[in-house]
Symmetry: C2
Subunit: 143 residues, 2 copies
Amino acid sequence: MSSSGNKKPVFNEAALADQLRSVGLRPTQQRMALADLLFGRGNRHITAEALYSDALATGVNVSLATVYNALHTFTAKGLLREITIDSTRSYFDTNIDEHHHFYFEKSGRLEDIDRAHVKLTRLPEAPDGLSVSRIDVVIRVDG
Amino acid sequence: MSSSGNKKPVFNEAALADQLRSVGLRPTQQRMALADLLFGRGNRHITAEALYSDALATGVNVSLATVYNALHTFTAKGLLREITIDSTRSYFDTNIDEHHHFYFEKSGRLEDIDRAHVKLTRLPEAPDGLSVSRIDVVIRVDG
DNA sequence: ATTTGTGCAAATCGTTTGCATCTGA
DNA sequence: TCAGATGCAAACGATTTGCACAAAT
């Protein structure tokens, strides 16, 4: 009973705290716990509600508002990437490298596709010399 | 003051009615008027609220619920394609051919990219032999 | 001490639903 | 006639917001 919840953090607390500080965020208890759930268990594609459930399930005490707060703050600081695929909810992806997704329509699950497996050619220029901020490829499969 | 609104329908009424009947839909006044707004002015990427405004502005008498109804029914019948890009609203695309999109982040506007201008290679197999229902490519630009 | 973050509950907003009434074939 | 459509208003669900309180520097 030394850390912030029932489950031991997967990441070293000091390292997590440094990561948060390095992007200008205070390593509060809630953010530490959420960051641990997000980044301490491999790549995840998670919704706010799901992360909230995860937190409750592991004994972490946070409010839903704080979960939304943390997800948006992390996204703004580049620690997460927001994926919009289903208009009823937002997914947050812990993989911030350039990559793409399979979307399983029935289950609502997302799966990463490495950038090396999708090659885009003949891409048109962005109109008016605007710069491209991101290219998303989503392969929808009926599972 | 002979047709269903202030603005003359761009499409021939009989042709529109046939198009609706051909997919098993009754050509009601509301559906005819909405179909005309949707298909009678070139390709459009429109939200439910925007179509509703359009309808009101052209003197067409429909409820918002009917607009949603029509958009979903048309989509189910293959006359429209629903595009999810922004989690706060759904877009409906009158272009049902395979193609992709530019998304202008500031204005929220969408623009078609012909399929010929995006070539995907090295596509991974869909897992578990599931079939691919659709591939969406969205190029986000900061305009 | 000051700034930043958190939690609660209420508010928002796009969308959906229930149900009574109308309409097209 | 009568299945299918429409309209209204209430319900919904994810997300956001206002504001008082707590925690971090």
